[in-house]
Every structure is written in C-alpha cells, then in structure tokens.
C-alpha cells in the first residue's frame, strides 16, 4: 500500500516535470488518473434507500443512483460493469470517503452545507423534494390538517427534518427514527399519523400500498439536491464528475438519463432546458 503510494507520487512528480508545469501541479495525483489507471470505480453507497439504492429480491444492488453510477462507468471505461460497490450503513458513508477508500459515493444523499464542510458535492443529479405521507385512516388531507396537537409525525434522524417540522407543523408531536422502515411501521402501528420523507421514496411506497398510504399534494421543500459526494480538494476529479452530472441532466447524455429516470420513476425527468418543452 505504502509502496504503491510512493510509486504513484514519484510518477506524478516525473510527469509534472516532463510537462514543465509549475511546481504547484506536482502535488498528489488526481483520483481521476488513479481511477482511469485502475480501470474500475470504487463507489460507496447505502443499500437501504429505495428507490435510489437498495437490493432486489436476489440480493442484487439496484436503484436510480446505482444506474447513474453505471452511466459514469460507461463514460470512463466504455463498460457499465466496471464498478465495485462498497455497501455501508448511513453512518459508514463519510469515513469511507474521508479515508480515501472509495472514489465517490451515492445513495439518496442530500446536499447540506454542514456536510459540505467535510465532503465535496457535485451539482445535484436529481431533485428530491420532501413530502408528507399520511395513513389513509387518519383523514389528513393537507398540512393545515396535520398541524394539530393530536397528531404525531415520524421523522428521520437528520436535523433538517426537525427544523421543517417546527416550521410547517409546529403543533404536531414528533418522533425520530433511524430508518425509513421504522417510520412506516410507526404509521402502520398507530404510533404516528404521518411521516416526512424524500418525495421519490414517498411515491415509491405509496404506489406499492395504495389503500394504506397517501402522499399529501403539498411539498415541504419543492426541491432539494441529491448529489455525488467525494473527498474534497481534488479539483480535477470533482470537475470531471460535475461535468458528467451536468451532461446527464441538461446536455449530451440527457437521453440516457431520461431512460434511467423513466425506469425508476415512471415519468420523464424535468426538461433539459427551461425553454424546451417536452
């Protein structure tokens, strides 16, 4: 390991000299070059965040985010299969990136400024709002209905959920869980009447059990960003990833992006440019 790092530093140094670049460029080799040399991406992800990243009935890792990574591998190596997924729990994502063990990470991960102090994000590769999913029995039809002391909302354990609960339904009681399944179970068991969750996830589960759950039409946040995260400080690597995401969402890879979007959400992605109507 150490010897490898040493060799790569030497190689990087020689290359910098050969190109007669300024001394500043002779720093650590970019992860982009490491990845290209390796011929494979190492990607950290969760496997418990449907429909972004989860396992199917055969235990295979699938989901929207997973397909996005496969598009990246296709672009880098002309082979969508050249990806090594490292599956961790929610808390395991950050050390995997900070320690440099994975090249990048995905998996229903929202961009927060607090998080960006520790890891770098590309621009968002999907907009993910926050919705309220209610049990049909409760008879709750709107956020105003929900804002009563007799109701309880199940949150996920991030501070943004707590903040939104205070802002949108200050009177409602709040419970905090560490997995979406526990949130759903809370609603099913009558512990809570509604839950806050990413809009795509809400749609996914509401579609699966139509007579039990309903998604309120109002959104708590119309848009928040799910993005690729990586170790900060590597401009070349970040730049390539960010460009790739831009091309997916509004450039030359929009057709492939649309295909993946259709596959997981059953509808077209937002238009490529605001002045183009589909």
């Amino acid at each position: 390991m150490r010897r490898k790092a040493l060799t790569s530093t030497v190689v990087a140094g020689v290359m910098a000299l050969a190109a007669l670049l300024p001394a500043a460029a002779a720093q650590e080799k970019s992860r982009l070059d490491v990845v290209l040399e390796r011929g494979e991406l190492i990607v950290v992800t969760m496997s418990t965040a449907p429909p972004f990243a989860f396992t199917d009935d055969k235990g295979q890792l699938v989901g929207f985010d997973i397909d996005i990574v496969r598009l990246l591998a296709q672009a880098l190596f002309k082979d969508p299969g050249k990806v090594e997924f490292v599956i961790v729990t929610a808390e395991g994502r950050w050390p995997a990136i900070e320690s440099g063990r994975a090249d990048l990470g995905v998996g229903g991960t929202t961009v927060y400024p607090d998080r960006a102090l520790r890891v770098a994000f590309t621009r968002a590769f999907i907009d993910s709002g926050i919705s309220i999913l209610v049990s049909k029995k409760s008879g709750i039809k709107s956020l105003e209905d929900l804002n009563q002391e007799k109701y309880t909302v199940a949150n996920l354990n991030n501070p943004q959920m707590a903040e939104r609960a205070k802002r949108f339904f200050p009177k409602t009681k709040v419970l905090t869980f560490d997995t979406p399944s526990a949130q759903f179970l809370a609603v099913r068991s009558g512990r809570a009447h509604a839950l806050q969750i990413d809009t795509p996830t809400a749609d996914y589960f509401a579609a699966q059990s139509k007579d039990e759950f309903e998604v309120l039409p109002q959104l708590l946040t119309a848009s928040q960003n799910n993005a690729i995260y990586l170790k900060p400080g590597d401009f070349k690597w970040w730049q390539w990833l960010d460009t790739a995401v831009a091309e997916l969402r509004s450039g030359s890879w929009y057709p492939q992006y649309s295909e993946v979007y259709q596959k997981w959400f059953g509808k077209n992605p937002p238009p490529q440019k605001f002045y183009l109507q589909r």
Partner: protein, 217 residues
Amino acid sequence: MRYSAWFATYGPSYLDGLGWTALTALGASAGAILWGCALLLIRLAGGRGGARAVDAYVQLFRNTPVLLPIYLIYFGFPLIGLPWPAVVCGGLALVLQNGAYVSEILRGSFKAIDRVQFDAARSIGLSPWKTFRKVVLPQVLVYSIPALGNQVVLLLKDTSLLSAISVTELTMRAKLLTEQTGAAYEAFLVVAVLYLLLVSVTEVIFRTAHRAVRWSR
C-alpha cells in the same frame, strides 16, 4: 483542538443523550435484577413445570437479538391499546432479556449456598417464602455482585439499540450529528468516551458494593 471545538458546539446535545442513556440503563438494570429474582423464585418454588418454563424462557431470550422484542413491544403494544412511551417499551424489552441472564447468574450463586442452611432454616420454623427472602436471596445477591456488574455493563451498551425506536440516547445523538455534519469519527468517538465514563461509574459502584459485603464470604 478539533475535539474541544466539537464538544463545545455539540456538548449540550450529548449531555442530553447521556442523561437518557443513564436513566434507561439505571431503570432497566433495577428491573432486570428484580425480574431475575422473580425468575429464580419461580424456578425454585414452581416445581418441575416452573423450572422448565424458566429454562425455555432463558433459552429464548439468551439466543435471540434484543432488537426483536424492542420492535415488538414498541410497535405491537399500540395495536392492543397500550401506546406506552418509547423509553418504557425499550426498557421493558431490556428487562425481559437481561432478566433471563440475571436469573442464570443467580442460579449459579444459589448452587454455592451450603445445603445445611436450608435444614437450619426449616428447624427454626421459617416458612419457604421467608427462607427465600431472608436466607437465599441475600446470599445469592451478594455472591453475584461481580457477575451482575458485568451484566449491567452489557445492558448499558445495549441501550444504544433504543435509538431504533426514537429514544434520543447517546447513539441516536451520534447518528443525528453524523447525519448533519458527516463527521462520523468525532461523533462516535465522543460517544465512546461517554460510554466508557458510564461503564467506569458502574464498575466503581459494583466494586465498592463487593468490597463492602466481602465479610459475608
């Protein structure tokens, strides 16, 4: 220092979690020891059937992860009209499991009591219940102090599982802070130190108790 800055910012959040962890562990430990004594009584007084039932109970709880009873009680009880708070439900699950361990510890100590004492108790006319309360239980508990201390330490660390049912104890605090900042190392290392603190306090309490009653050995 990075950690002092970290603790300065998030200290209050940790202290709140520390309080919940300590409270849950204390309540559940007391409950588990009581329940363990009750199980020992059932085993001793319940005849063959009682002993079998306790054996089955102990096997069941010793060999399954405690997360299942935690979930079953917390999410199941509202369905039968008992929407107890999360701390109570989680605490109850911990009592049920650790009570099984405690009863085994007490059984081990029971074997160490000299049989002559039972004859003595009978000869001075003590009722079976009085014999249990005045002769058996005090000795069994005293013999068991070190092993009970170990069990309480395990229980203390298991309270972290209550984060799954919305109890905002230490581990939940670490998870919340990790979600917010992405700083898993800091969040969990601080929590580890706080657990170590609680474990140390527990060990000091049990060691002091052990020393205080050593005359009885």
